[in-house]
Symmetry: C2
Subunit: 279 residues, 2 copies
């Protein structure tokens, strides 16, 4: 396994790999790898000749009052995980090489970036789209792997790739949960023992919503959201949103007829958590 | 020579070419090819195994009151020119394949896109950056060729390529003029005989400015601009700007110490013309 920190050197390395007609699978991460990330690396390992993992805490997707500084960075541990999963390349650039002084170029996926998490995290998806485009140009993957945990992100990345004609196939993999239902997130380490228990209300309310739709034939989004709120409100410190949207277009829906995503964003203590389920 | 209209088919064709370790030179154009474009194709022909020319009048770089509809589209003539210059590929997609319904993704190069022509053509450089990125992802060139006529555009494209890590080398080629000095432009066909004569005031004022700087040792931007205005004002119908800026950063300068671009944008009749000289 090789570790690259310089964008141009990795770009050149990949160019030579592609000349040999080898396929490149790419897993972009911010590090602090958990079983969700590992599942992406495993899928990439199965489907490609070369597997590249990026570990980069992307400053442009954090708001000024967010957790950029304290975001966990267990680099040595991440390197070991990548190695033991058979990754071929780690890309871990210093921030100044990705955003040098006088950096000016940003990618916006309009509309989709302004709703759900975008309403509460201004500029977040602009930062995500921009770094993913940069990474795609550096790593030049045939396939890139994203987790369904960040549902809105996966929709936005797929839209960007289609709109900008990136020669990359986007593969979205299932959300991975703890045994008790908590969605895996690098931010779960922020939770105290008591907060972690309260955080379970997210996955439980989503599972309950799924049951209401599938077994109790409830179709009204308003009714489902109100049931979810009953479970979430007493256990969390702030609700950013509980929404039911079309799983393809992210349009808000009132009555459930086709595939929808039920998505939640809340604060438990000072930690912002998101979770979702596709029904 | 092959003509492609479908983005995915060209992308696939190029992918196979690159597997053979052949280099691709790319000349993006809006068609209505003149000797300026031809000079780019010739340079690309010298430096690459495969030469691709795109012919696409890009709607996203035209303002609502601009000349998108009447922009000249002499497609058969353009195809002949490309063929006789030895181009291997023409890419001429229908607009609906480049901007399908519900298109949402745009690239902005901040600051640089807001000044000079950007002040008068809102969204123009956003459209330019977006289409160039799309074309780069489709054509995947090793080198792309732009004319110095669109000076600000060349600075913005170079910045976008650096910022977004596109694996493309940008080559900017000299501005080509008629014998009498008029800068070649596909829009010159709009000019009446009388307007064409008046349009010569642009190149003359720029040449005069160059002489003032190089032979008369005039260093004050204000003084030079005022001299230019004397020549341009009586011959044009509206001046968008006459500016002297740092040729690398496009910062406005007061006293000429290093390489600058002197740039002009005016209307002659209803036709908007730009010209520039680097000193």
């Amino acid at each position: 396994m090789r570790i690259f920190t310089n964008p141009a050197k990795l770009q050149n390395y990949i160019k030579n790999i592609k000349l040999k007609d080898k396929t490149v699978g790419f897993v972009p991460t911010m590090g602090a790898l958990h079983q969700g990330h590992i599942s992406l690396i495993r899928r990439a390992r199965k489907e490609n000749d070369i597997v590249a993992v990026s570990i980069f805490v992307n400053p442009s997707q954090f708001g000024p009052n967010e957790d950029l500084k304290k975001y966990p960075r267990p680099f040595e541990k991440d390197v070991k995980s990548c190695k033991s999963e058979g990754a071929d390349v780690i890309f871990a650039p210093p921030p100044k090489d990705m955003y040098p002084e006088n950096y000016l170029t940003y990618i916006t996926v309009e509309k989709l970036s302004a709703l759900m998490c975008g309403k509460f995290r201004h500029g977040h998806f602009r930062g995500v789209a921009t770094i993913v485009a940069k990474l795609f140009n550096i790593v030049q993957p045939d396939r890139a792997y994203f987790g369904l945990k960040d549902f809105q992100q996966s929709v936005i990345i797929k839209k960007m790739v289609t709109d900008l004609n990136f020669p990359v196939k986007i593969i979205v993999c299932p959300l991975v949960r703890e045994k008790d239902g908590l969605a895996l997130s690098s931010r779960n380490v922020y939770l105290s023992c008591e907060e972690r228990k309260r955080a379970l209300s997210l996955s439980r309310s989503l599972q309950n919503a799924k049951n209401l739709i599938e077994y109790k034939n409830v179709k009204s989004a308003k009714k489902i959201i109100s049931e979810m709120k009953k479970m979430i409100l007493p256990n969390t410190d702030k609700i950013d949103y509980i929404e039911i949207r079309d799983a393809e277009t992210l349009e808000e829906i009132k009555y459930i007829k086709k595939k929808v995503v039920i998505a939640v964003a809340v604060f438990v203590g000072k930690t912002r958590l998101i979770d979702n389920i596709v029904v």
